[in-house]
């Protein structure tokens, strides 16, 4: 209601105990195109809807490799994403140089969370306006981590973020139990099925599905156009998933005021999460789906 008085600074609390600037940063994530991450027994898969531009014919980079065993896909401000990705790459490189080993994904992501947290607590910084799904494979197995501008780091079996991602999340929730037993192709098909739900009817021409995978004996790899096409064809034969219209909460075009009553955006973060004990990046993130 009086949020305009309390939303100028990251360092200003509202009387309800909210940081509006951080919540606005979450909105930026909600505006980005959807991306999905899921993991099985040996692999972690990322799928993203990338915008094609008919004029320039370039794909907006949504999936960024970080190291041989880690990569991430982003939703939100691409410029912020590049900076964050650069930081992660530098950390991984420095770790390899010192320790001749891969950076354990869990620790890398904890470092990242700590870095993001400082931006929510300084008057001269703003939160990074980018949400990430980090996919990695190390000695502890495959990982999917969701990292948000709130500096929340969640260890996930599967997750989707970005606009119209609720239908993807519903699909993932329904099929989650079967991921452990899936082989690589089945996992990829699940990812594509999940993200297909986030394609609006108008966007089918403008958005292409890009897939990346990392896992046992498989360094992080983004699929070529041919491989992407092959899997999309494989999936087209299957049953269509939940349609995007059912996803009322995260449709584009809803005004900010309507959203604020529902609390922070529906990108997987429950309301009032900011006052949670686990806000600042904890290494022991809880499992979310």
């Amino acid at each position: 209601m009086f949020r305009n008085q309390y939303d100028n600074d990251t360092t200003t609390w509202s009387p309800q105990g909210r940081l509006f600037q951080v919540e606005y940063a979450m909105e930026a994530v909600k505006q980005g195109a959807a991306t999905v991450g899921l993991k099985g027994a040996d692999y972690a898969v990322l799928a993203a809807l990338c915008r094609t531009s008919k004029d320039t014919n370039t794909l907006q980079r949504k999936i960024m490799p970080v190291d041989e065993h880690v990569g991430m896909s982003i939703a939100g401000l691409t410029a912020d994403a590049r900076v964050v990705c650069q930081y992660m790459r530098t950390e991984c490189m420095a770790y390899r140089h010192s320790y001749d080993a891969e950076f354990p994904v869990r620790r890398l992501v904890a470092n990242l969370g700590n870095k993001l947290q400082t931006t929510t607590q300084r008057y001269d910084r703003r939160p990074y306006g980018v949400g990430m799904l980090v996919a990695g494979y190390d000695e502890q197995g495959p990982h999917i981590y969701q990292v948000m501008p709130t500096a929340n780091v969640l260890n996930c079996k599967a997750m989707a973020i970005g606009s119209r991602s609720q239908s993807a999340r519903t699909y993932l929730e329904r099929n989650m139990e079967s991921f452990e037993d899936c082989d690589m192709d089945e996992l990829i098909c699940h990812a594509i099925q999940a993200i297909r739900g986030s394609l609006g009817s108008d966007d089918a021409d403008n958005l292409t599905i890009n897939v990346a995978i990392v896992g046992k004996d498989m360094p992080f790899k983004m699929f070529t156009d041919a491989e992407n096409q092959m899997y999309v064809e494989m999936v087209k034969g299957m049953e269509p998933p939940l349609e995007a219209d059912h996803d009322a909460l995260s449709e584009e075009g809803m005004s900010d005021d309507d959203m604020m009553d529902h609390g922070p955006s529906s990108s997987g973060v429950p309301p009032n999460d900011i006052s949670d004990m686990e806000t600042t990046a904890s290494t022991g993130g809880h499992d979310a789906h």
Binding site: T90, A94, H97, S98, Y99, D100, A101, P104, R106, R107, A110, E139, Q140, T283, G284
Partner: protein
């Protein structure tokens, strides 16, 4: 992250940054630390012996066998030619995967061991059951030691790093004061490099690793030979054993001394 230890480079102009460095605006980051002159001055032949006397440990021997590694070192820290501290552990258990045997300047060994212990505590604080592997510790030590050497201020140590990784594969390496490291089934420092390594290599079966029994027998023999020939050690030694079954330092053991052959020496 990228440290600029450029203490030997002359600044190109007054108050400005050295090439490749960032400009230090006032009130910004802390400036690059300048080491005091007695530490950065180069001695003859590139040495840097300070006037303070140093305490030293002698050889460390490491042998790799089929399921682990064994590290042995005597329990003496000498003060020049004086056998001053006679009950000092020089083989350390770092974590459940890693053993470290230290020789050379013992103050430097203690200093770097403290650093390593702090690293292990940091690992524990992460609370994710990820423990450092021996290869990673050896790699880290080479980076630190090489950096110190390049700044003309070495840690005067010669260490053996041994252990097992998560799959149980044994690892054994020697890292020296220059930051050089190499892996082998037998590594040693000091006199053991000259006396023990040939002994062990001769006994190595061509087509397989040592067994635990063979390895410990070899350790016993080598420590005996070293005791007879190295004049800066004593007959008491400890042995660290690291395998999939566990990691620990055993001892102290005594060399079976037998000086009766001395009577056969002409002029005795």
């Amino acid at each position: 992250m990228l440290n600029n230890y450029n203490s030997l480079a002359q600044p190109m102009w007054q108050n400005g940054p050295a090439p490749g460095a960032f400009y230090n605006f006032t009130g910004g980051q802390t400036p690059v630390q300048q080491l005091p002159r007695e530490l950065t001055t180069v001695g003859p032949y590139g040495t840097n012996h300070s006037t303070a006397f140093s305490t030293t440990g002698t050889s460390v021997l490491g042998i790799r066998y089929d399921s682990g590694v064994m590290l042995a070192a005597d329990t003496l820290v000498s003060y020049g030619s004086m056998a001053r501290y006679q009950n000092i552990e020089r083989v350390f258990k770092i974590n459940k995967n890693i053993l470290l045997g230290g020789s050379g300047d013992f103050a430097d060994i203690q200093s770097i061991k403290r650093n390593i212990d702090q690293k292990m505590i940091e690992d524990q604080c992460c609370d994710d059951n990820i423990e450092m592997k021996p290869k990673s510790l050896a790699s880290w030590m080479t980076r630190v030691l090489y950096n110190r050497r390049s700044r003309m201020n070495p840690l005067y140590i010669d260490v053996v790093v041994g252990g097992v990784d998560n799959e149980g594969t044994p690892y054994l390496a020697n890292v020296d004061l220059r930051g050089r490291s190499y892996e082998d089934y037998v590594v040693a420092t000091g006199f053991a490099r000259h006396l023990a390594i040939p002994l062990v290599r001769e006994k190595k079966p061509k087509d397989r690793d040592f067994t635990a029994v063979e390895a410990s027998e070899l350790i016993r023999t080598c420590m005996e030979v070293l005791y007879y020939r190295d004049t800066r050690n004593i007959s008491q030694y400890t042995v660290g054993v690291c395998s999939v079954n566990g990691c620990g330092v055993e001892g102290p053991f005594q060399v079976n001394e037998n000086w009766t052959f001395a009577e056969t020496i002409k002029g005795y």
